[in-house]
């Protein structure tokens, strides 16, 4: 049976890994290539590289890092950040990415999902969504969580899947960085309407949060986190051993 995936996310700016809390107050950590190799050794099932550079110089540094990572790390790589056109898909796929995650780019031009899916296949297109409760409604935010789009999250996700998104990353802004566990209520609502894999993001603080996630919501396919892995608060080896003890299908290396 397919195992539940554990996915460290590396936010990269100016060639270094960073992670903020609630998207503000960024702190620099380590070399992305070294970190990626280490995660792969410890049993990460996939890696997400997120380009949070704004400048074109920074973009070049990012693709160089991606290339270097793909030369040395042999697990699936997803790339996000700065993806606004199919040419951006092409740029990162050539550097060794397997999947490309779209967020603000798809909000700006929703036809991007369908066009990319047609060119590269649905399995290549990941729709990443930052969602926050506004008046008790799951609402899509753009630009790293700064801008309320007014879009209903469930409608937006349904539309994305119809257009060809092969996977959903659901990042709850409400629980991101809080480390009190994943947003189970929001995830349950998305799993209910999703015919494609759902990756939970935002809120993991300890191993038990992943166990609760996969036990409560068996439809969730993967758990994604950043700082708890970067700071060593959760070791992937320990996490996977605990998943195995709880009979959650997992890949042990």
């Amino acid at each position: 049976m397919i195992t539940k995936r554990i996915i460290p996310c590396l936010d990269v700016r100016n060639g270094q890994v960073v992670k903020g809390t609630n998207f503000v107050g960024l702190k620099e950590i380590d070399s992305p290539v070294a970190l990626a190799e280490e995660y792969s050794r410890c049993g990460a099932d996939e890696l997400v590289f997120y380009d949070i550079t704004a400048s074109s110089d920074g973009r070049k540094i990012f693709t160089d890092i991606l290339t270097e990572t793909a030369r040395n790390v042999f697990i699936p790589l997803t790339v996000g950040g700065g993806i606004y056109e199919v040419t951006d898909f092409d740029r990162v796929l050539k550097c060794g990415a397997d999947k490309v995650s779209v967020n603000s780019g798809a909000i700006k031009d929703p036809s991007l999902i369908g066009r990319a899916a047609k060119l590269y296949g649905n399995q290549c297109v990941v729709l990443s969504v930052d969602v926050k409760r506004v008046n008790d409604k799951f609402t899509v935010f753009a630009k790293g969580g700064r801008e309320n789009t007014g879009l209903d999250a469930l409608d937006w996700i349904k539309r994305g899947i119809d257009d060809g998104a092969g996977e959903i990353v659901l990042n709850s802004i409400d629980t991101d960085g809080v480390k009190k566990g994943f947003d189970l209520e929001m995830l349950a609502a998305v799993c209910e309407i999703s015919s494609v894999p759902v990756i939970a993001s935002g809120g993991a603080g300890c191993i038990e949060d992943f166990i609760t996630l996969f036990r409560t919501l068996p439809k969730v396919d993967a758990g994604l986190a950043a700082s708890i892995f970067h700071f060593g608060e959760v070791a992937i080896k320990d996490l996977k051993a605990e998943m195995a003890r709880n009979n959650i299908p997992t890949r042990i290396v």
């Binding site: 049976m1 397919i2 042999f74 397997d98």
Partner: protein, 205 residues
């Protein structure tokens, strides 16, 4: 020297990188002479069967591959590249494959609660011993992304993966082999399968 056949389908960067990682010299090429002179050949591929087959046929590479296979050169198809080795595929119609392995390629029909494509890490269960597996063990997980798989291929199947139904994971018949999963994306297990492939001797086949 291992030749990776470049026929305009899919991303060969990771595959070439994985061979470099295991110390195997490789060449990504669409040149027929270079393919014919290879010590071994890898046929990659992602996307639609019909498009890929058309590209192989139009470029004349289909004939080159058949010639190379007939000479006994070790050949490995990966993902769609493996499916192309079979007689036929039923992906959007009926299409002829290279016919190097007996069997058809059909949609994965399984428990409706399970998502299609079959995507992620799944364990290999061996159906018979094979030299390709000499550096890995039963139950090791590899990375899959596919919606179709080979059927009616009992003669060549060497490993399956459980996904509501037994999914055809790896096949081999003499010098012609295939992996439905991506060894170049399957961590050390995948590298060890490639390592076994590039060190195959005639007596192993």
């Amino acid at each position: 020297m291992t030749v990776i056949v470049d026929y305009g389908v899919g991303n060969l960067f990771s595959l070439a990188s994985s061979l470099r990682k295991i110390g195997e010299p490789s060449l990504v090429t669409s040149d027929k002479t270079e393919i014919e002179q290879a010590d071994r050949v890898i046929l990659p591929g992602v996307g639609a069967f019909a498009d890929a087959m058309k590209k192989l046929a139009d470029s004349g590479l289909a004939d080159t591959l058949k010639k190379v296979a007939a000479k006994g050169v070790p050949m490995m198809g990966i993902c769609l590249g493996m499916q192309l080795l079979f007689d036929r595929s039923f992906e959007y119609g009926e299409h002829q494959g290279l016919g190097l392995l007996k069997g058809d390629v059909r949609p994965i029909v399984t428990d409706p609660a399970l998502k299609i494509p079959h995507m992620g890490w799944n364990a290999l269960s061996f159906t018979r011993p094979h030299s390709l597996f000499r550096f890995i063990k039963e139950g090791d997980a590899v990375y899959f992304v596919h919606s179709y798989h080979a059927v009616d291929c009992d003669e060549s199947v060497i490993a399956r993966a459980e996904y509501g139904i037994p999914v055809t994971a790896a096949v081999a018949s003499g010098n012609v082999m295939g992996c439905q999963f991506h060894p170049e994306k399957s961590g050390d297990v995948g590298l060890n399968i490639l390592r076994a492939f590039v060190s195959l001797k005639e007596r192993d086949l």
